[in-house]
């Protein structure tokens, strides 16, 4: 039998442009201007899916964003997108859609057995069972529950599409393009203000798009035409304002899926705009509520306003007869329009009497009205066949569709995002905004203003006020079309079904929550709105309860014997509608997830066989192909190079800070634990700084370039933190110090020249400079010009060998690096990478990131003696807290592997030889390396009591691999304890 059919004329579809999509593997025809939903109805596909829990047959309920049932999976393969509301999908050629959550098909679904078992599946049932027989039994039941839940299916494949994000600014943002929104946008636009009008629909006009009045249509066209002609106005269709955030940040998302954008051409499927609006006019309209009665979920039962939209906008109407059930006057708009389209209409009106005006207009169209009546039951397994009325007129009516008109719920979501709770308006029988901050305005149905001319006037006023607030004065109001009569609303709120049979009466279609579930929640004490939602899952679906929340709230208030305002309201949280994750992430994904920081020497490394490793945001040269193909073999050869000859390493990632000013020395003296006040010009010093809590923050070196200028290096990891910290101290606290700091991390490059032949190598590179031990002793530094470029040479060593760091402006880094390699070639100099760099320092006992982990004190790291006794420094007071001074603390030790056939691993836990191997041990290994000098694995670690146990044999346990090894505690300075190499 036919239930819905395409009308021979009318509608906003372009009959000259047929469109062919595929639905469940079959062709689905329609016209440009159709949505997937309207095309399904036009093809008389009334049964479109199964419900979430009971697998009951379902049809479309709405024509807009609030649709709870009509969710489909779109696309194929990697472009598969589950749970898309058919009402929001433009029908385009090549569109592929299929039903979900039904097996084998929506028409015949085996899971419908759930419906028979439904008394078991009442709200909260899963909290009461699936607990036995053993404690872990849920792990047995859970997979079945999980499989049954969920709606559509994701593929697990990467999304091939592209998403864009932009920032924008405007004076007036108007949300919603219904009569109020159009009036607001145009009035604001006429003032010269920069206006953005956004609407989630594919066209502008809001409720006007569902009407059939030529005068209204002319007004709509004129408004849009004028608005689009304004250079200061931007109109955004298919653009949902998803949320409002602090600082008038509106997040708009435009969906361009209908254009079939091609990611390979850089076209985005969606565009997210972060719009900073000086003012916002909300004209978000209202959503019609269903009525709750027995079997109100049969396919073909929908909102009266949806029937009207399908009829007028999409030229799809019930085949012969529709029954409309209402508690207010707005339903008659739908009734009259359906009748005009040739549908026989019967209205069951909950109210005892209907106005004479309606009676006469309805009578003229042959509409039968049954006052004092409601729906008792709906019949028809896979689509409505007949309706039984209850109340004053208990008649049975054969019909193809049912329209529900339970009154309107203003869309107050956006107005609530800022934290202002909506308030209940008795006259509007719905929640309206509870107030607005100064720069926000509301107009039209979202304010509970349902008359057309009233909404336009309110919109125009709001637009003028917003423009004025944004600093724009003169404008002309927008007037309603002539001869508009604002129809009455006259709602008699009805929540619990007055006449209902015993079938399931749904409150929330998508979550399959019935009136009985609300009753059970009440019985069991889940009475606050939030408990009700969480216990029954009401409003938790993809429709976010747009059609169900208010009915449920009102029912709960009724059961509790309190008023709706007393029962409160739910919190409206962004996003307003399900928001594609890709659109939020934009292009900041994959390789572009976070910026890549490259050393100025990076290109050289790439060309010369470096393998890279990530170190925070940096890509660092890990090892070079000359030394081997894997890091395990290469780093050892590179270490040998440095220990026996000379190597060149890129240390440009170190934080580099230029510190200048007459008080610079005093400043450093406060920041570092050790003295810097008397550091001579031409000297560099190792320094450690603490946080205010007395815990080590960072270490590094600082060179005195001149009386008033210093050059600081920090660790790579803490560079940003240290810079910020220095600025904080200078700008917020030590404002009396005349010091300026500037980061040179990206502006300067650094290269370490290390090894016994380092001086020889540099002398070859810089023959004009006297680099003798006398001229440039250990911890000396000098700036000198080389081929017109200033080179900063610092004699210091991370590796423990005779070593220098050569720093130069980043632009000259590669040429200087190449020059050193070329000039010093006779020394056998080669590059070495991060792995060798980090291993050489272990042999020398220098601490690094794994030891500087914000948990250790100076003494823990064996650096306590460095601290000045006579001076104050940051962190001094709290450094001396009781436990910070305890000899039992874990402190730095060197560790030597005693069992040559074994391997040492970082993260091993340390135990004394006699300890039982359990608990937290006495410490752990921080850093491990193979020692080319000692021919064994060595490590740095933290151990309770530290070097007090020097010489003891202990145990390193690595239970994750069931390994244990014997170690000896030694000085962390494995090589050259006297520092002869450093001073050579």
């Amino acid at each position: 039998m036919t239930r819905f059919r395409r009308l021979p004329q009318g509608g906003r579809i372009d009959r000259a442009k047929p469109v062919s999509a595929r639905f469940d593997g079959k062709a689905l025809g329609g016209f440009a201007g159709d949505t997937l939903a309207s095309a399904l109805l036009a093809n008389d596909q009334v049964l479109i899916g199964r419900s979430f829990k009971y697998h009951r047959p379902r049809g479309l309920v709405a024509a807009g964003i609030e649709e709870p049932n009509g969710l489909f999976t779109l696309g194929e393969g990697a472009t598969t997108e589950p749970n898309v509301a058919a009402t929001m999908v433009d029908l385009v050629d090549g569109l592929v859609a299929r039903t979900q959550n039904a097996w084998p098909s929506a028409g015949f679904d085996l899971m419908a057995v759930n419906s028979i078992l439904s008394p078991l599946f009442q709200s909260g049932f899963y909290y009461k069972t699936f607990m036995g027989p053993t404690k872990g039994s849920w792990m047995f039941y859970e997979p079945f529950i999980r499989e049954a839940a969920g709606l559509g299916k994701a593929t697990g494949l990467p999304d091939p599409d592209r998403y864009d994000m932009r920032y924008a600014f405007c004076d007036v943002l108007v949300v919603g393009s219904g009569p109020a929104g159009l009036a607001a946008a145009l009035t604001a636009g006429r003032s010269g203000a920069r206006v953005v009008l956004a609407d989630q629909d594919s066209d502008f006009g809001g409720s006007l798009l569902s009407g059939n009045d030529a005068g209204h249509e002319a007004w709509r066209i004129a408004c849009i035409g004028e608005l689009k002609s304004l250079p200061n106005a931007e109109t955004c269709a298919r653009t949902t304002v998803q949320g409002l955030y602090d600082g008038n940040l509106a997040v708009l998302v435009e969906n361009r899926s209908h254009l079939r954008p091609d990611a390979r051409k850089g076209e985005a499927r969606m565009l997210l705009t972060q719009l900073r609006a000086k003012t916002i006019v909300m004209a978000t309209g209202a959503i019609e509520r269903p009525l709750v009665f027995s079997n109100n979920d049969r396919p073909g039962v929908m909102l009266a306003s949806a029937l009207r939209s399908y009829t007028n906008r999409f030229a799809v109407a019930p085949d012969k007869r529709a029954v409309i059930v209402t508690n207010n006057d707005t339903a008659y708009q739908a009734a009259l329009d359906l009748a005009t389209a040739g549908v026989a209409v019967t209205v069951a009106d909950h109210r005892a009497s209907v106005s004479a005006d309606i009676l006469s207009r309805a009578g003229a169209k042959g509409i039968a009205i049954f006052p004092g009546s409601g729906i008792f039951d709906v019949e028809g397994a896979k689509g409505v066949t007949r309706v039984k009325l209850g109340g004053a007129h208990a008649v049975t009516i054969e019909c193809d569709a049912v329209g529900m008109a339970g009154g309107w719920s203003p869309v107050v979501h956006l107005s609530s995002h800022g934290g202002i709770k909506p308030k209940f308006d008795e006259a509007a029988a719905g929640f309206v905004p509870g107030g607005f901050p100064a720069s926000h305005y509301g107009a039209g149905a979202m304010m509970g203003t349902y008359g057309l001319s009233a909404a336009i006037a309110e919109g125009s006023n709001a637009g003028a006020s917003a423009a004025s607030y944004a600093g724009f004065g003169k404008t002309r109001p927008v007037y309603a079309p002539e001869h508009v009569t604002d129809r009455s609303y006259a709602i008699l709120p009805t929540w619990a079904p007055a006449y209902s049979a015993k079938g399931k009466a749904f409150v929330d279609f998508q979550s399959d929550v019935t009136i009985k579930d609300v009753k059970i929640a009440h019985q069991e004490g889940y009475r606050s709105v939030e408990h009700l939602k969480r216990y029954t899952t009401l409003g938790m679906g993809t429709d976010q309860g747009k059609t169900s929340n208010i009915n449920a709230l009102a029912l709960m208030a009724e059961y509790r014997g309190i008023t709706i305002p007393e029962a409160g309201t739910t919190t409206f949280r962004p996003p307003y509608a399900p928001l594609t994750m890709g659109a939020i992430a934009g292009r900041t994904v994959g390789a572009h997830f976070r910026p890549v920081r490259l050393s100025p020497l990076h290109d050289w490394h790439v060309k010369n066989g470096a393998t890279f490793i990530d170190a925070g945001l940096w890509k660092r040269a890990w090892f070079y192909s000359w030394a081997g193909a894997t890091p395990e073999t290469a780093y050892v050869k590179e270490m040998e190079l440095v220990r026996r000859g000379v190597g060149l390493a890129d240390v440009s990632t170190l934080g580099k800070i230029d510190i200048q000013g007459p008080d610079a020395a005093e400043f450093l003296n406060r920041v570092y634990v050790n003295g810097f006040a008397k550091l001579p010009v031409g000297k560099v010093r190792y320094g450690v700084m603490l946080n205010d809590d007395g815990i080590v923050l960072d270490d590094g070196t600082t060179a005195r370039i001149s009386d008033n200028q210093f050059y600081m290096t920090t660790t790579t990891a803490q560079a940003g933190e240290v810079m910020s910290w220095l600025e904080y101290l200078l700008q917020c606290h030590w404002t009396d110090l005349n010091v300026q700091v500037a980061s040179l991390t990206d502006e300067w490059a650094g290269m370490a020249v290390s090894g016994p032949k380092a001086r020889e190598a540099l002398q070859l590179a810089f023959p004009a400079e006297d680099l003798s031990n006398d001229a440039l002793p250990y911890m000396g530094c000098k700036d000198f010009p080389f081929e017109g470029v200033t080179v900063r040479l610092l004699r210091m060593s991370f590796s423990g060998e005779l070593a220098y760091e050569v720093h130069v402006a980043a632009d000259y880094a590669i040429s200087l690096w190449a020059h050193i390699l070329k000039a010093a070639a006779p020394t056998g100099i080669k590059p070495y990478g991060l792995e060798a760099l980090a291993s050489l320092r272990i042999e020398k006992g220098h601490v690094a990131g794994l030891e500087l982990d914000h948990r250790n004190t100076l003494d823990d790291l064996g650096l306590g003696k460095m601290a000045g006794k006579e001076k104050d420094y940051v962190g001094r007071a709290l450094r001396f807290r009781e436990d910070c001074q305890s000899p039992e603390r874990w402190s730095l030790v060197g560790l030597e592997l005693m069992e040559p056939d074994k391997k040492l691993r970082g993260g091993s836990i340390l135990f004394a030889a006699t300890d039982e191997i359990k608990g937290h041990g006495r410490g752990y290994i921080t850093s491990v390396t193979w020692s080319t000098e000692l021919n064994t694995f060595i490590a740095l670690g933290l151990y309770k009591g530290g070097l007090g146990h020097e010489g003891e044999e202990i145990i390193a346990a690595f239970p994750l691999k069931n390994e244990q090894a014997r170690l000896k505690i030694v000085s962390p300075h494995f090589i050259d304890k006297e520092g002869a190499r450093l001073h050579a």
Partner: protein, 81 residues
């Protein structure tokens, strides 16, 4: 949230680094009083309401400044000198 940088003007919060309660008085350099430092470093009024706090325009001009903000509403009161 828009934060008014005294040097650059209104900028998105994502450009800034928060720096904690600015109403606390940092003990003078040279003060060795453990309790004074403990209270300064570790204790917070943490009011639900007006709050003065440090921010740094870390992805901009690097200026540190004091800002008045209401922690109950995130309403910005402006830069405090």
């Amino acid at each position: 949230m828009m934060i008014p940088c005294p040097h650059c003007g209104d900028r998105d919060v994502s450009e800034f680094r928060y720096g904690g309660d600015a109403s606390k008085q940092r003990p003078a350099h040279g003060t060795g009083d453990l309790k004074a430092w403990h209270d300064y470093v570790f204790l917070f009024e943490n009011p639900k309401g007006p709050h003065t706090e440090y921010w740094q325009h870390v992805l901009g001009c690097r200026r540190w400044f004091k800002l008045a903000r209401n922690t109950a509403t995130n309403e910005i009161g402006g830069v405090v000198s």
